[in-house]
Structure formats: structure tokens, C-alpha cells
Amino acid sequence: MTRYSIATLVRNAFLDHENWPRVWRSAEPKAAYDVVIVGAGGHGLATAYYLAKEHGITNVAVLEKGWLGGGNTGRNTTIIRSNYLFDESAALYDHAVKLWERLSQELNYNVMYSPRGVMMLAHTIHDVQVFKRHVHANRLAGVDNEWLTPQQAKAFCPPLNIGAGMRYPVLGAALQRRGGTARHDAVAWGYARGADARGVDIIENCEVIGIRRDAAGAVAGLETTRGPVRARKVGVVAAGHTSVLMHMAGVRLPLESYPLQALVSEPVKPVFPCVVMSNTIHAYISQSDRGELVIGAGTDAYISYSQRGGLHIAQHTLDAICELFPQFRRLRMLRNWGGIVDVTPDRSPILARTPVPGLYVNCGWGTGGFKATPGSGQLFAWTIVKDEPHPINAPFTIERFRDGVLIDEAAAAAVAH
């Protein structure tokens, strides 16, 4: 692996950038691996990276039915934060934020992590009470979060409309300053490069069509569109298609898959300094380094694998954006798209063993998995290697639904759904 530095950058600049080596190999599937990861998105690639780096397991394949980072990793609005209500969630997401802070150095790849602050707006008395509760809970859990008055919110984000004439006036905001954004593609590419350099095979255009099990019921391997692959340990990290894959092993999960939409505007000069979220009127907005406003909309009401959502869902979000930021009313939207997100009943992920020995699942991140990418990969690698969860992901089992120990971020409304 060529180490990137100012010296390699200068040298390649003089060579017209024509001699950069390929960042990862295009591997052919081998007959057998120690561990196979299904899904080459950010979480899957991070899992492979940490398997190789922290556990020395390099006979690993990452199988991807499409192209690397082409699912939700390339479709999300890149928001990073950890201001969740419950201790279990705060620990899980803050673990990831701590990894984000050093990720570019760790990977020697610029993931453009930008802790520009995530501000969540309160529009009702209920919002004010809930967010203040979040602020206190987060501070007790060691996670930064602070309460802002409407004037302070406007000072932090000058485009914000805090006028009294709004249908849903801004009554205040909760601000996590360590929150922000990162370059989503770079995260996938950086992890792919790091994993590949340690010997991991990344195999694109290779769809899993069956999970083989031995006489004892344990995982024996996978059937794929590029032939069978033997493995005693398989980690499924397939987001919206998790139910489809787990069905191949006879495992039914508490998951439903919904289309979630996002859209971007035409590019404009830097106008928007932070990330703003509103759960009540449902809007997420930030500005990319290219100048596009990146806007997150909601999920459709019904389960679907269609990777597109209803137009009225996006319109609903744009209504909210136009009221919060009236100067954006004349902006044109360039693109919109959908991704399929797997949602659990309590809106917390599952990062755990399954009833099938050797089969592990990392799913249920719902509408907000990107922020957890580094932590999710590191904890899932641990879980696969040790055959037991790390203490941070120990609460995020499948059995929590049976045992009644939900981590109910849905009711806590840390995020709009």
C-alpha cells in the first residue's frame, strides 16, 4: 500500500497524477475463508479492516452484490452525532465518534470528518422538555450536548429563521459540537484500502444466494453467483436486505425495510456552517464541501425494497426547510434518491450472534447507521472473533426483544423516524 503524504502528493502532481496505484485489488473468490463478510458498505468494510488489523485475521472476504459503497453508505446524509438518550446508545455512538476523530490518521486516508456541530431544533414545549432531558442525560453519560436559546441557535447558524410568525417557531435547540459530517464515499474507500492492504479480498458483483449449514446446524459456507465459498464464520452486514439474507439461514428477525430519501440542491457558496435537524417538522440539512445543500427526508410508510420513495415525502421535508430557511426557497434541487433501511421496533441496532452457530448479524441501524460506521465495524469484528459481544454492544442482541430489555430510542425520539 502506498502511504499517502505530502511527498507522494507533490511527486504525483509533477507526474500529472497518472501513476497513482490502484487502491484495492479486484479479487477472485477463493474456495474458503476464515471469515466472510456479506456486504461491502462502510460497516462491512470496517469489520473486515478491524478483523485484519486488531485480530490478525486476514483470510477474509467481503462479498458485495453490487459495487463497493453503493448502498446506503453512498446514499446517506453523512451526519455524525452521539447525543442519544439511553446510556447503551450513548456509549455505542460515542465510541464511534471517538474513532471518527482519529479516523483519517488511522486509515491514512482523508475521510473529511468535520465536527461542525449538530443542532437539533425544538418547536414545541414537549420538544424543549425532551431535549433538555437529553442534554442532562448526555452530560451524565460523558457525551457533550448543550441547550441553546433561539438567539444562541441563530448565532450558531445564521440562516436560521427564528421569527415569531412561523407555524412551528424555534423555541431553542440542543447542540452537540463534536457532531458533524464526513465524506461517506471516502469512509468506504479508506476502509477498503486498509483492509485490502492487509490481505482481505473484496469481491464485488458477487451476490449471496444461499447460506449452507452443516449437519449440526452451524454455518458451513455460502452459495454465491460466483460459486460456493466455504467459511465457518459469516457476518451479515446487509442493511435493508438483512431479512432476505437471514431468511436463507432460516432466521427471522424483528426488522422491516423502508425506503429513506435524501436530496441535494444545486451548489452554492458556503452559506451553512453546521448540521441542523428538526424532528418535529422533519428536516435534516447541511452543506457539502461542493456547495450542495444535503437534505434528508423521511421514510415511506410502507415496507419496500424499491430504492425510491414517494415524492410527497421529499416535498414534506422541503416545506420544513423553506420555513426554517426562507432564503433557500429559490434553490433548485438537483438529485434525489432512496436507500433501503432496516428498522427495528425500538430503533436501535442489532449487533450480535444469531441462533445459528457461526452466523453473526449487524443490522437494524435504521435511518442513522452512517455515524456508527467505525465503531460498528470494530465491535462486530470483536463479536465475530470472540464469539461473544464486546461490553459496548452486549445490550444490542436479538434476544432483547424476547427479554423485554429494549433500548427504546424510538420512544425517546432522539431522531425522527
Binding site: I209, G210, H241, S243, V244, H247, M248, R252, L253, P254, L255, E256, S257, A301, Y302, I303, S304, Y305, S306, G310, L311, H312, P345, F401, R402, D403
Partner: protein, 101 residues
């Protein structure tokens, strides 16, 4: 936006409806007789198929009534809608590949 054929009112835009989850999940006559796994399955576990899906809708801004529908989750096309209490219609089987396609 979907155009949903309400079995009572005919085709209407999706905004008139409320989705109500997977259909044909019957509550046990006596839940106290279920073990934890069965109760969990009833409460939380869903089939979430990629392909035909039986689901409930309520025509909340129309006749107000619930009905069932079979919709293909890959195309969002409705194959059939039918009244609550009637059995799932016998639709032509897809090629059997829908789960993995």
C-alpha cells in the same frame, strides 16, 4: 405516490390511507399460553419479504375502513386488495425467485 385500490371506494391516492403493517398476524386466543419466543414473534418479528407482501391499510381519509392488500415490495405494485376477514386471494405464483432476487 401510490394509487391504492380501496375495495370499498376504488382507486385513491396514498395520502388518503394509513399503512397498518403486515396482515394475517393473529393474536393468540389466550396469550398467557404462549411461551416467550412465540409472544416475541407475535409482537416483533415480521416476514419483511422482497416480493409479494400481505399488508393492512386503512382508508383513513375516506371510508375509514381497514382492508388487506398484496403488494410487491420490489415494484410497489398492488396485486390485489381484499376485505378484512376474507382469506388471502390465490394469486399466480411468482417464479419462486422473489426471496433472493
Amino acid at each position: 405516490m401510490l394509487l391504492i385500490p380501496c375495495p370499498y371506494c376504488g382507486p385513491r391516492p396514498e395520502l388518503e390511507f394509513r399503512y397498518a403493517g403486515e396482515a394475517h398476524i393473529a393474536r393468540a386466543e389466550d396469550p398467557s399460553l404462549l411461551d416467550d419466543e412465540a409472544w416475541t414473534a407475535y409482537l416483533y418479528v415480521r416476514s419483511n419479504p422482497k416480493g409479494p407482501h400481505s399488508e393492512r391499510w386503512q382508508h383513513v381519509h375516506g371510508c375509514g375502513r381497514f382492508f388487506n392488500a398484496v403488494r410487491d415490495t420490489t415494484s410497489d405494485a398492488f396485486a390485489a386488495t381484499y376485505r378484512i376477514g376474507t382469506p388471502k386471494p390465490d394469486l399466480p405464483k411468482p417464479d419462486g425467485k422473489t426471496e433472493a432476487s
